[in-house]
Amino acid sequence: MSQLLPKLPLDKWVEAVVDVMDDQLGFLFDLISAGIGGTVDLFHAVLTGLPFWLLIVLFTVLAYRVGRLPIALFTFIGLVLIDNLGYWENSMETLALVLTAGLISVVIGVPMGIWCAKKDSVQNVITPLLDFMQTMPAFVYLIPAIFFFGLGKVPGVIASVIFAMPPTIRLTNLGIRQVPVDLVEAADAFGSTYLQKLLKVQLPIAKTTIMAGINQSIMLALSMVVIASMIGAKGLGADVYRAVTQINIGAGFEAGLAIVIIAILLDRITQGAGKRKKA
């Protein structure tokens, strides 16, 4: 199509905004950077500080407690295989990144979801924002993330959080809104405060739905952490990336398999934790 109007300089505007933000909010970014970096390092230190066989036992016990025997068996065999293939170090690096991104998604996403459920106006603003966050190609987030935070794990985590947080917000909102009206009325009728109603009635009843959201967020975080290896986040993603650039099928498969194992493990454990256990 011929140009009836001159092209909108949208790219320039975005760059200008990013410039201003970088100038004015530099200290804030430093603070965020330190916080995220510290969290990743902490997870990493714990995961690599403990001997691998102890971690395998711990994960297996955890999987058995929230799930059932087959999941525990899978966890044990999968982790032993990862170690055997020589991807233990990098797997723990990836896990540290995913856990950090997942944790931030929950810490920000759940309160956001609660806020959306409380006010329709908030929901109306947030929903299109979430659509934007989820449909914008994930690679695009890497660019401003690099700009503000440089290369490495911090921009990787931030890009992952942006990409992974929407399901937690959405499903927290949905879960709370789906609490049957008469239960909310009952909570009100007996004189609950807003906080009591939320903590004693709405959140417990919405728990399964919220956990489904968290589960999705963690899965998305994992997929994004892999992509984030392109900007220097270490871990299994870097192995895959290297294998791709070298067209090394064998190494690519091994690293990919390690990611799949971790994905299934995280999925089953978070899903299991969402299901209510009753005596």
């Binding site: 009952a186 009591q196 004693k200």
Partner: protein, 409 residues
């Protein structure tokens, strides 16, 4: 002083409700206001007093505003206009904190669908009202257990609501409301979701309980029988307005207007409606047809029984699918497989006399008029439909005499 005084209480649903208030003051009806403004009048200038220790029943059909009215009494729904004085204090003017205090101390509520918290045990449910008041665990559990014992649920404390039957769940609902020891119980169609026998038991138990605890009870129902049974006084609502307040006797013997009169009339539909109101057209056949015709007819009409009549529509018997099948296989005539004994009732039979017969019969019961002429049949579903008020007038026409004439290719 009355325990509760409701004055001019009005609720209008929709944007900018004050537009409708003026019209309401001018005496316009709910329908006129809906047409002019698009706003729905939920409750229209309701006024009444409730004395301490009284069971005050608010009755009306669905959409009459009774549920909205009861929800305004504890401000689950905020009124558009009017006053609600509880012990002389207007709760409409109260701040959130004051309101919470009144809800905790003075108002208990029981819900139609029980509204028990599924993640809490029976004991934790019953203790909820005390828990939000910040009462220590041991004390609130003691009170909740007492309350559960009061409604006959001792021993069920550790169960979860979904492990209980409907009647038991509503006892938990009642225990939860009683545990706070409130002055006023709001019961919103509390027994409507229970099956009839349990409902009757619960009504009896509520009356028995009331004689010992002496609460002020506001009881919402759409069931006149229930209202008459438990109400000290009854307020009848229509289109959001209270049309009559009185004792059960007053309402029955001296209905204020035509609406109340009609309401009182159909106290029990099964004692008013008769077989001809609920019967369906019968699929019929004459005996000169062969079994294959009968078979074809059953298939076309999707029925498993055919009623055999003569040319004058006199009922001769019934053909079941099995019988027709047998006739086709063994080349018998229809007459040989005809089942002459058919349950039969006259068209004036009242529904409540029909239940046993319809329930115990394996085929639809035939309705016959003079000289055993077949008028129609009663299937189980239609009988229930009749009780729910679905009366079909068009089926009263007798099937025409060429009904059974089916051509087979």
């Amino acid at each position: 002083m009355p325990k509760i005084q409701v004055q001019n209480l009005t609720k209008i649903f929709g944007q900018r409700p004050h537009r409708a208030l003026q019209l309401l003051h001018q005496g316009k009806t709910k329908q006129e206001i809906l047409q002019e403004t698009g706003l729905t009048v939920g409750v229209s200038r309701a006024s009444f007093d409730v004395q301490a220790g009284e069971i005050f029943v608010i009755m009306g059909l669905s959409g009459s505003g009774k549920s909205t009215l009861v929800r305004m009494l504890n401000r689950l729904i905020d009124p558009t206009e009017g006053k609600i004085l509880i012990d002389g204090e207007d709760i409409v003017q109260m701040s959130t904190e004051e309101l919470q205090k009144v809800r905790r101390k003075k108002l208990g509520m029981v819900f139609q669908k029980f509204a028990l918290f599924p993640h809490r045990t029976v004991l934790e449910n019953a203790a909820y009202g005390l828990e939000v008041q910040g009462i220590a665990k041991s004390e609130r559990e003691k009170k909740a257990a007492e309350s559960l014992a009061l409604v006959g649920l001792a021993g069920w404390e550790k169960s979860y609501p979904d492990e209980l039957s409907g009647g038991m769940q509503q006892r938990v609902g009642l225990a939860r409301a009683l545990a706070n020891d409130p002055d006023v119980l709001l019961m919103d169609e509390a027994f409507s979701a229970l099956d009839p026998l349990i409902r009757k038991d619960m009504q009896d138990e509520l009356l028995e309980l009331q004689s010992s605890v002496q609460k002020t009870i506001i009881f919402i129902t759409h069931d006149l029988d229930e209202a008459l049974k438990i109400g000290d006084r009854i307020a009848l609502m229509k289109d959001g307005a209270v049309v009559q307040i009185g004792t059960p006797e007053e309402i029955l013997t001296n209905p204020a207007n035509e609406y109340v009169e009609r309401f009182v009339e159909d106290v029990d539909r099964s004692k008013v409606l008769s077989a001809e109101h609920v019967m369906k057209r019968a699929e019929t056949i004459t005996l000169d047809k062969g079994p294959r015709v009968a078979f074809q007819l059953m298939r076309e009409r999707g029925v498993s029984t055919l009623y055999v009549v003569d040319k004058r529509k006199k009922l001769l018997g019934v053909l079941t699918a099995d019988a027709v099948n047998q006739a086709v296989k063994e080349s018998l005539s229809l007459e040989q497989v005809l089942r002459p004994e058919v349950p039969v009732v006259p068209p004036q039979t009242l529904l409540n006399e029909l239940f046993d017969l319809v329930a115990s019969s394996d085929i639809p019961v035939a309705v016959t008029g003079e000289q055993n002429r077949l008028l129609g049949v009663i299937v189980k579903g239609a009988l229930l439909g009749g009780l729910a008020g679905k009366v079909n007038l068009e089926t009263q026409a007798v099937p025409t005499s060429d009904e059974g004439q089916v051509n087979v290719q």
